[in-house]
């Protein structure tokens, strides 16, 4: 693959460019799922290709191909330059990149058990054992469980002389139980909804999740929700579990701090951001106990946003985003760093495979653990505790959000007094984070994986990481999803 990357770089350099980088990528995936006692999707795939990005005539051009023959590479290289030339038809200024060092490196993500050595029949046996537990009560009309693995090797080569060989292995697993009866659908999922938990790990993640032991409770809760009270409407203290808080971070902090959104380059699709440049180091984003980082380094944890170098050859870094409640930093790229007075990118450019251009993407955007015990977080006189995301929506500048969860409980003095169905909460991003009054400590902190973050045109899907522990928020609007 190094030869392939270097051949492509050579081909494009001959075209006369200011800068170029090439990513040669080989991806292998496996997906196994079960549904109501049977195999669901059993599939494997491999994909190999090359993406060539050039800066010529002051404009970007990008061409990707799965044809890695000499002719295929040369055609893609020529097309990338031609596309850059076409960009001059509507150019305002030349693209200028922040300087970066040259790196030669090989990095392989930690992986204790190679998931591709585990046979498909063992994957199915694991999932079918969960399925049996979920369907012990016939009221469960749909039991689903899934496992997926991805290994991506990428060789990055650039005209500044970098040659970076990275291999990342990610795994994911989860299950859900759905109960339809009496004109109502209720569903519970574990360890998270929409596929479960995903991390930069091998098969050891599946073992660690101990999925089957949680299946009976999840099925019971899906059935019990049918006889639970409707979540009330009103203003309450809200306690959020760590998986839901991970998505809250993703939507109301992670996306707003993308500097390309702030600068308007995502305006037509994903939207812009309320975090205009004048807000940096001025905005009270959260309460004093809110500390958020964007950290792609391995020491932050095995997140879907963990790597050694980003997709324009910048080393992984950790950046303070919110420090003691103050907004302190954006996610940047080599092209955008100067817009916030930085001399160097903080390494957040990521691409969805060989066929896509790198964009500013979340790495691991995490709420740092707090100093409260779990008892202190849950210790409010009266609060609503919500678990596991069911729906999520936020406006295109990331002010107004609404989340629904699968299940909630009314809490009094730290005790669950009744189960509530169809819970939801809503608000304005900065008001929500300023209402944060308690964050549980490191022992309750989980680095969640969001495998399906969409952005860009053509759309790119990216995995991002979000560390969080259960937290409490004061006077939050609850129940508006069913209002009116």
């Amino acid at each position: 693959m190094k030869d392939l990357a270097l051949r492509a770089l050579d081909a494009v350099t001959r075209g006369g460019v200011t800068y170029a980088d090439v990513r040669a990528i080989d991806t292998r995936e496996r997906e196994v799922s079960t549904k109501n006692g049977k195999a669901g999707n059993v599939s494997s795939s491999e994909s190999q290709g090359i993406g060539i990005r050039v800066l010529a005539f002051g404009c970007w051009g990008f061409a990707a191909t799965s044809d890695v023959s000499k002719e295929g590479i040369e055609a893609a290289a020529a097309l990338a330059v031609e596309i850059a030339r076409a960009g001059t038809t509507a150019k305002k200024h030349d693209v200028v990149l922040a300087p970066e060092e040259k790196y030669e490196a090989t990095w392989v993500s930690p992986c204790v058990i190679d998931p591709f050595t585990i046979p498909v029949d063992r994957n199915l046996a694991t999932l079918l054992a969960i399925d049996r537990e979920l369907r012990r009560d016939a009221a469960i009309s749909l039991a689903e469980a899934s496992i997926s693995f991805t290994r991506e090797r990428q060789v990055f080569a650039s005209t500044i002389g970098s040659l970076i060989d990275q291999t990342r292995t990610t795994s994911g697993a989860g299950f859900s139980a759905l109960c339809y009866k009496d004109g109502e659908i209720q569903k519970r999922s574990y360890p998270n909804s929409f596929g479960g938990q995903f991390q930069l790990k091998g098969y050891e993640l599946i073992d660690e999740l101990d999925l089957a032991s949680h299946a009976p409770r999840i099925a019971e809760e899906a059935i019990a929700l049918h006889s639970a009270d409707q979540c009330p409407e009103g203003t309450f203290d809200l306690i959020v579990d760590s998986s839901q808080l991970g998505l809250q971070i993703h939507e109301s902090i992670g996306h707003p701090i993308e500097l390309d959104r702030v600068l308007g380059t995502e305006a037509n699709y994903a939207g812009m951001s309320f975090l205009t440049l004048d807000q940096l180091r001025r905005l009270r984003y959260g309460s004093d106990i809110v500390n958020v980082v964007c950290d792609a380094r391995l020491e932050h944890g095995p997140g879907l946003g963990t790597f050694a170098f980003d997709d324009e050859g910048v080393p992984a870094q950790g950046t303070d985003i919110i420090r003691a409640g103050e907004f302190t930093g954006y996610m940047t790229s080599r092209e955008t760093a100067a817009a916030v007075g930085e001399t160097r990118s903080n390494g957040c450019m990521r691409a969805d495979g060989w066929a896509r251009l790198p964009l500013i993407r979340m790495t691991n955007v995490s709420l740092q653990p707090g100093e409260q015990s779990l008892d202190e977080v849950f210790g409010a006189d009266h609060a609503i505790y919500m678990e596991t995301n069911r729906s999520w929506s936020i406006d295109d500048k990331r002010y107004n959000f609404q989340f629904g969860c699968e299940i909630a409980w009314e809490m009094r003095n730290g005790k669950r007094v009744r189960m509530l169905k169809n819970p939801s909460y809503s608000g304005i991003s900065t008001e929500f984070w300023n209402a944060c009054v308690a964050i549980a400590g490191r022992e309750h902190w989980t680095l969640w994986g969001v495998p399906n973050c969409g952005k860009g045109q053509p759309e790119q899907v990216m995995g991002t990481g979000h560390g969080a522990s259960p937290s409490r928020f004061r006077n939050i609007k609850i129940g508006s999803a069913y209002a009116g």
């Binding site: 491999e46 009309s141 169809n422 069913y482």
Partner: protein
Amino acid sequence: MPVDAAAVHDQVVRAARGQGVDEVEAILATSNQALTRFANNAIHQNVAELSSTLSVRARIDGRTARASTNRLDSDAIRDVVEQAIAITRLTEPDEESLPLAEPAEYRKVDRWSEATAQVTPHERARAVAEAIAAVESAGQTAAGIYSTDANEFTLLNSRGIHAHYRETMARFSITAMADGSSGWAKTSACDHRGMNPLELALSAARKTTQSAAPRELPAGRYTVILEPAAVLDLAGQMFGDFSATAIRDGRSFLNDRIGKQIFGENITIHDDAWHPLQAGAPFDGEGVPRQRLTLVESGVVREIAYCRQAAAKAGVAATGHGFPLPNEYGEAPANIVIAGGDSSVEQMLASTERGILVTRLWYIREVDPYEKIFTGMTRDGTFLVEGGQVTAGVRNFRFNQGLMEMLSNVEALSPAVRASGEETFDMVVPAMKIRGFNFTEVTRF
């Protein structure tokens, strides 16, 4: 990258037979996609992708699994067949599994424009530059895309199915922005010459001007006029439920509602792959010919989609809406046509004493799967209508709206058009005037 599908299929069948497997299906897809993206009145991302994929499914004694590759040399083809067979042998047999589909006749559709397949980066750039100039001359900032795709795929199986489809598709969308307001427009067409980027740019700019200094109105129930893209992105969320498998799973809102009046009498919906404004193949993921379905007739749910397996279970004929196997979801309609009426948007405005005109909806997610309540936001062109005309732009609303209620409250429909949004696939839908639409919150802009 021309690929001989028949030759690839022969290699697949030979490799499978060499492993003692007779039932094998191959899907060969090639794609040539290009997109010119602009923002801040300049082209900033400009990309092209050329790719091929071979996907092979084996079926052995009621077991099935799929393996895919994008390498098409002989070794890779043999490897992907061996991989498909190896993982198939490790799965559990399913007593409901069916033999591969039999050959069938497909009603032809022509959705290929050679001119669109040959559009160059320079042609896209010129159209983009003209659109930007129009927005810029209004003192506004433009962002958007112009894409042209040429896709081709062939589905073959060892029982003799040879289903081939090719399609070109062009898309143009634009957002015009000024301090405090924005406007948006989008279109798509199989032939790029059917699009008018400049007209869309002018429309987006007009909306931006018209919505300057937006007023904040209280949340509540309003009469709304949803332009076609807004109807598409909201109503389009429900069609995955018109599925026999979804009903069997208990995840469809149509459980216990088939044959019942759940929408107003002015709502009729078909699935029609041959509608002149539609796109997509005339066969499904197993090669079964698509049938035209009457999903909703005068507000009553009439028909749903059946993949082969769901059809066999129900004792009916497959409708040609199945996804490639193996999958958990079964089937879904793919060519939605909501019948229009004879009202124009202008007539809807003129008949509205007080209401909200909505250009576009955004970030739509399901709140309640059985009541089919969705939440989301208005975006890029939300207006107050008073005394029969647009009087001001308004700050964007969050809605929480049940679709059955919404489609029971439709007071007027425009003729149906091909609409393109960002929340679901393109459909043929009308604009709608709807009473009592439920806005629950207001955002800051």
